[in-house]
């Protein structure tokens, strides 16, 4: 018998293609390298294998999942397996008829992202005009009787307006509002200086969200996620490596999180070549940071090791160059100074320039 834990959620990144170019996109910075996409039948098999492992929640995401013209088949297949299916979308390419059909086929929830509560600012962060469209689609979602999650990724340019976002979510009749601060991985890391808020901004935002959570209890769920950079100890990233989540990338890599394939020297298996159950239970990729055996000090002897599982492996690698280092977010990490430096920079005014998501590696251009 295997002692692998039970996964509950499959995050299916159906594609990295997206009409938006958000400056904090969680897709890998070199996403254009992974241009192959899995076929419909392979996804349907992955859903079956995931359900057999214990998965009950399916997030259809990307990129923009609506650019897949087989989305209807995938939603129908998920419903046959009785999975709770959540479509995570920019809303831009959606037509009302298509949404209605997806609902008929068994879609359970729609999550729409906005980038700011002001149209011009939202469009500036997304790099395209999209805001008005998003609100229109949010109206369709509720009009068709589907539950709506509204999501806004927070950063220093929009964190002072979350009261307006809460009011907008109420007006739209959202069932859940996610006010999720940017985490500094993917495209957000090169944009960190432009995005990281000050501690004062964060404290004010958190207080407003807490008031709304109490006031709206039972009507709208309000979630406020702080950036790891302002925590003293890291959260349990993905509830621990290979414990609750499986993510499958557009080209078929089975991963413990959105960015694991950016870690060097770890072999991740592709679902096109190997059964998901075997990958979950036995593969190097899912085993390498599972449990406590890999942990360095100070994690190894720390009481929180079963709470935070050592924090985020990708953050540790991005900041220290070592994937098996203690997450520098932790105040006990020998690298915690890197986090304090970033906080210090956020408190200092200065020029802040965005680098938009693009398939071309702009840093290698000679000009």
């Amino acid at each position: 018998m295997s002692d692998a834990p039970r996964p509950y959620t499959l995050i299916a990144e159906l594609t990295y293609r997206c009409p938006l170019r958000c400056v904090y996109c969680s897709n890998p910075v070199d996403y254009a390298r992974y241009s192959e996409e899995l076929a419909t039948d392979t996804w349907l098999r992955v859903f079956r294998e995931a359900e057999a492992l214990g998965v009950v929640q399916l997030n259809l995401t990307g990129g923009e999942p609506l650019v897949r013209d087989d989305l209807e088949q995938l939603v129908a297949g998920a419903r046959e397996l009785d999975l709770y299916t959540n479509l995570i979308t920019s809303a831009v390419p959606l037509r009302r008829e298509r949404l209605s059909e997806l609902r008929r086929l068994g879609l359970d929830n729609v999550q729409i992202s906005i980038q700011d509560v002001r149209a011009a600012e939202s469009d500036r962060i997304a790099g395209v005009r999209a805001f008005d469209r998003k609100l229109e689609v949010a109206g369709w979602v509720k009009g068709l009787g589907l539950p709506l999650t509204l999501n806004e990724v927070l950063h220093r340019d929009n964190l002072d307006r979350i009261a307006d976002v809460i009011a907008l979510a109420e007006r739209l009749g959202a069932d859940r509002l996610e006010l999720a601060n940017t985490q500094y991985l993917g495209w957000a890391l090169p944009n960190r200086a432009a995005l990281l808020p000050t501690r004062e901004q964060l404290d004010r935002g958190r207080a407003i969200a807490a008031e709304a959570r109490d006031r709206l209890r039972g009507r709208m769920e309000v979630l406020f996620v702080v950036p790891d950079y302002y925590r003293d100890t890291p959260p349990a990233c993905m509830d621990g490596w290979g414990r609750r989540f499986i993510l499958v990338s557009p080209d078929g890599l089975a991963l413990p999180c959105h960015a694991a394939h950016t870690l060097p020297g770890i072999a991740f298996d592709n679902v096109a070549q190997r059964a998901l159950g075997e990958i979950w239970r036995e593969s190097e990729g899912f085993s390498v940071f599972r449990g406590e055996g890999w942990m360095p000090e100070p994690c190894r002897s720390c009481d929180r090791r079963t709470v935070d599982f050592g924090g985020c492996r990708c953050q540790a690698f991005q900041l220290t160059g070592r994937a098996d280092a203690t997450d520098p977010v932790c105040w006990l990490s020998p690298d915690h100074g890197l986090i304090e430096q970033a906080r210090g920079a956020a408190a200092t005014p200065g020029e802040r320039v965005f680098r938009y998501r693009t398939a071309i590696d702009t840093e290698k251009r000679p000009y």
Binding site: Y8, N86, P147, T149, D175, R217, E221
Partner: protein, 92 residues
């Protein structure tokens, strides 16, 4: 507020699913799920919007051969917790 006259109905975002691994029902909603005890599952199955809480209590008191006031206390507490999460609402 949930009271004896409420006709509780599952919210659009909530879906009941039988879980083969645990042999229990799970109440699923966005990003989350609650594993239900057999009695909790019995209550949720009756949250169709047709029955009042009072009717649900009568039915379960009979099924479990338990005094109605005890059942009512438990049903109200459980449905109150679900209502706080936005998972049940009054059908009227």
């Amino acid at each position: 507020m949930i009271s004896a006259t409420t006709r509780p109905q599952l919210a659009a975002k909530a879906r009941l699913r039988f879980d083969r691994q645990s042999s229990r029902y799970m109440l699923l909603y966005p990003e989350k799920g609650l594993e239900l005890s057999p009695t909790a599952a019995d209550i949720v199955k009756l949250c169709t919007g047709e029955h009042t809480v009072a009717a649900i209590v009568t039915q379960l008191a009979e099924k479990y051969d338990t005094a109605a006031p005890d059942v009512e206390r438990e049903v109200l507490a459980f449905l109150g917790a679900l209502a706080d999460r936005g998972l049940v609402r009054d059908a009227v």
